[in-house]
């Protein structure tokens, strides 16, 4: 796993940002996910708005680790592709 930093500014005032890796609670079975056919149900129902459709794969994924593990995404998914796990910190 790589950790990338951006943007790095040379001046003293700069406060460079890092991306820290995190294991996310919502997992999507890409074989079952039909987001590439236009489905966006899980993205639409998430109260925290943390799911997105990947430009790369055309499938849904958890973009932001900001989960209430409340489960509308799993419940409303028409193909049963979404699984909500308990976030690691709570497990």
């Amino acid at each position: 796993m790589t950790v990338c930093a951006f943007p790095i500014k040379p001046d003293e005032e700069a406060m460079p940002l890092a991306f820290s890796p995190t294991t996310v609670p919502v997992v999507v079975d890409e074989a079952k996910c039909i987001a590439d056919k236009g489905c966006t149900v899980c993205v639409e129902v998430c109260p925290l708005d943390v799911l997105r459709i990947s430009d790369l794969t055309g499938k849904a994924y958890m973009k932001f680790d900001e989960c209430w593990y409340c489960m509308p995404c799993e419940k409303d998914c028409p193909t049963g592709a979404v699984t909500v796990n308990i976030p690691y910190l709570l497990r």
Partner: protein
């Protein structure tokens, strides 16, 4: 998605409802039914289909006043006592008188409530004195049923727009709100004759023990935006020092669910498996006993079901693991915990503001009116104490009907375009910086400090240090907060609400120089309840840009309380057996 888009549109309506969780849809519905010609807009930060604290449903009503089981007088009395007397009874009595109609209406919507063999509602006793708990066997259908009604009445729904500030006219009346799209950062200016705030609790105030920012008891979308907006619009907020703190499963954000499990024979126990509280109904006094036991040699505290028959436990699991918090079963499963075998460790939640469970909310009267003309509030964020879900529905209905009537009588108030310009600048500031502090770090630090300095037991010097540290964070928020996309901008705005609420929590807690409501306002350096000086509400508002608190007398009781009854909730600890 999430990339910034420049944009500003304007919408005009008669009634603007902000928040599409529980109270909001009902308020919009009732406003529209009152007068179908009205233009009613329902604005929601998430998606009305699955938004708010009941996004997955609810397993029961905690405060149903059903003929044959309880009277409005009895309920008003119970809540007055449970809330240590600091209650304007008129809104509580109105709720109690109206909620049975709402239950029947919800039943017609398809949200069925538990009935006995005779077809009558089947209530359970959980409270200290009366019987008010009504199970909801198909409680997972609540949001769907509400959404159907919203569609049927052709309410205009605007999802994924986060309101940032209310706008008032020159004469002080409400004039509308400003909102920003959570995925594009485009602005929406909503001009309205009346505005109803239904934006939930301030549930993202304290940091959960797990350290996971979003592992809060309340839906973390309820970040106190409504409290902050009401404050900045000059509305009074009542009794904010009466925090919400709830008993929860340790590490999991689900309630211990004495309401569900209690009627089956489950109870809250200490490590010896013994009962230590008489009533599992959530009150500050109960939470103090819970806290005492937690800290004692007999701690920690547990939910005890392992004395019940396996079938009974199965029945309880069926409700607890499927309806309100369906990931709960998964949580226990991962740890190999079985309710049949051993007691479940419990703990107390992070602090928050919420009238739904305690009494900290935007001040409202019996018509859900705030102190700003034309501005209403309902649900967890409005000051009707111990209001719960049915209170949100009922007072949402009250607000919707009254706002619809007022909207008919007035013209669209004037709207200050300079204010809109300034607000756009404020909101977008974190997007104009190239680097700085991201919202998640700023939020973590704010909430960690809230835990360190503001949660009870409350100590004056500690809270004052907290105020100074929070002021430092405010500087960071105003000069260094950076949002890389529209999603982070939403989080940045939420941090701003959280910080506003933290300041209000500290200010209100320092103002009330006594202890009251058990743990909720346990002020160690003022340990006694002081009725001579503090039998009153406290109102907090923004005056000349600063927090100002004042006392407000309690309105004369409609339902008298006997001296003997007044202290009923002070005697919750199980007395020692001889």
């Amino acid at each position: 998605m999430d990339n910034f888009v420049e944009g500003l549109s304007e919408v005009t309506c008669d009634v603007l409802v902000i928040g599409g969780g529980t109270a909001g849809p009902m308020a919009a519905l009732k406003a529209k039914q009152k007068n179908p010609a009205l233009n009613v807009v329902l604005l929601e930060k998430a998606n009305v289909k699955r938004s708010g604290s009941i996004c997955m449903g609810m397993d029961g009503l905690n405060n149903a006043v059903v003929p044959g089981y309880a009277t409005p007088e009895q309920y008003t009395k119970e809540i007055t006592i449970a809330n240590a007397g600091i209650v304007d009874q008129a809104p509580v009595f109105k709720y109690a008188s109206r909620c049975y109609d709402i239950i029947q209406e919800l039943d017609r919507f398809g949200i069925r409530f538990q009935k006995n063999a005779n077809g009558d509602f089947d209530l359970k006793k959980v409270h200290h004195l009366g019987t008010y708990v009504l199970p909801m066997p198909n409680g997972d259908t609540v949001k769907k049923a509400l959404y159907r009604q919203i569609k049927r009445e052709r309410i205009l729904v605007s999802n994924r727009f986060m309101a940032t500030r209310l706008v008032t006219a020159k004469d002080g009346k409400i004039a509308g709100a400003i909102a920003v799209n959570t995925r594009t950062a485009e602005f929406l200016v909503l001009r309205a004759k009346t505005v109803i705030l239904c934006m939930g609790a301030a549930g993202r105030l304290g940091l959960p023990h797990s350290g996971y920012l979003f592992g809060t008891y309340e839906n973390p979308t309820n970040s106190g935006d409504g409290y902050a907006m009401a404050y900045h619009a000059g509305a009074a907020l009542a009794n904010l020092e009466c925090y919400q703190i709830n008993p929860l499963i340790k590490d999991y954000n689900g309630p211990a669910c004495a309401y569900v499990a209690g009627p089956f024979g489950a109870y809250t126990a200490n490590s010896e498996g013994k009962r230590f509280i008489e009533s599992d109904y959530w009150s500050g006094q109960m939470m103090q006993e819970f806290y005492n036991e937690l800290q004692s040699g007999k701690g920690p505290v547990f939910l005890k079901l392992n004395h019940l028959h396996a079938d009974t436990v199965g029945e309880i699991e069926e409700i607890l693991h499927k309806v309100e918090r369906p990931s709960r079963g998964r949580f226990h499963q991962a740890r190999g915990t079985d309710y049949r075998e051993k007691m479940i460790e419990m703990h107390i939640s992070e602090i928050g503001f919420c009238s739904g469970h305690s009494a900290s909310g935007v001040f409202v009267d019996e018509f859900a009116r705030t102190t700003v003309p034309g501005l209403y509030a309902a649900g967890d964020m409005a000051s009707v104490p111990h209001n719960y879900m049915l209170g949100a529905f009922t007072n949402g209905a009250v607000a919707g009907e009254h706002a619809a009537e007022v909207a008919l009588e007035i013209d669209l108030p004037d709207f200050d375009s300079e204010f809109v310009k300034a607000e756009r600048k404020r909101v977008l500031a974190p997007t104009r910086r190239e680097d700085g502090i991201p919202p998640n770090q700023l939020e973590y630090k704010t909430r960690r400090l809230i835990n360190d300095y503001l949660q009870p037991p409350k100590v004056t010097a500690r809270m004052q240090i907290g105020q100074a540290r929070l002021a430092e964070i405010r500087d960071d928020l105003e000069t260094a907060l950076v949002a890389g996309d529209a999603h982070e901008l939403m989080r940045s705005l939420e941090v701003s609400s959280i910080l506003d609420c933290a300041d209000m929590a500290a200010h209100a807690s320092l103002f009330r120089m006594e202890s009251r409501w058990g743990l909720y306002h346990n002020r160690v350096d003022y340990p006694k309840k002081d009725d001579d000086n503090w039998f009153c509400h406290t109102l907090l508002r923004k005056v000349d840009g600063r927090l100002v608190s004042e006392k407000r007398p309690i309105q004369p009781y409609i339902v008298p309380i006997e001296n003997e009854e007044r202290t009923a909730y002070d005697r919750l600890r199980v007395s020692n057996q001889a």
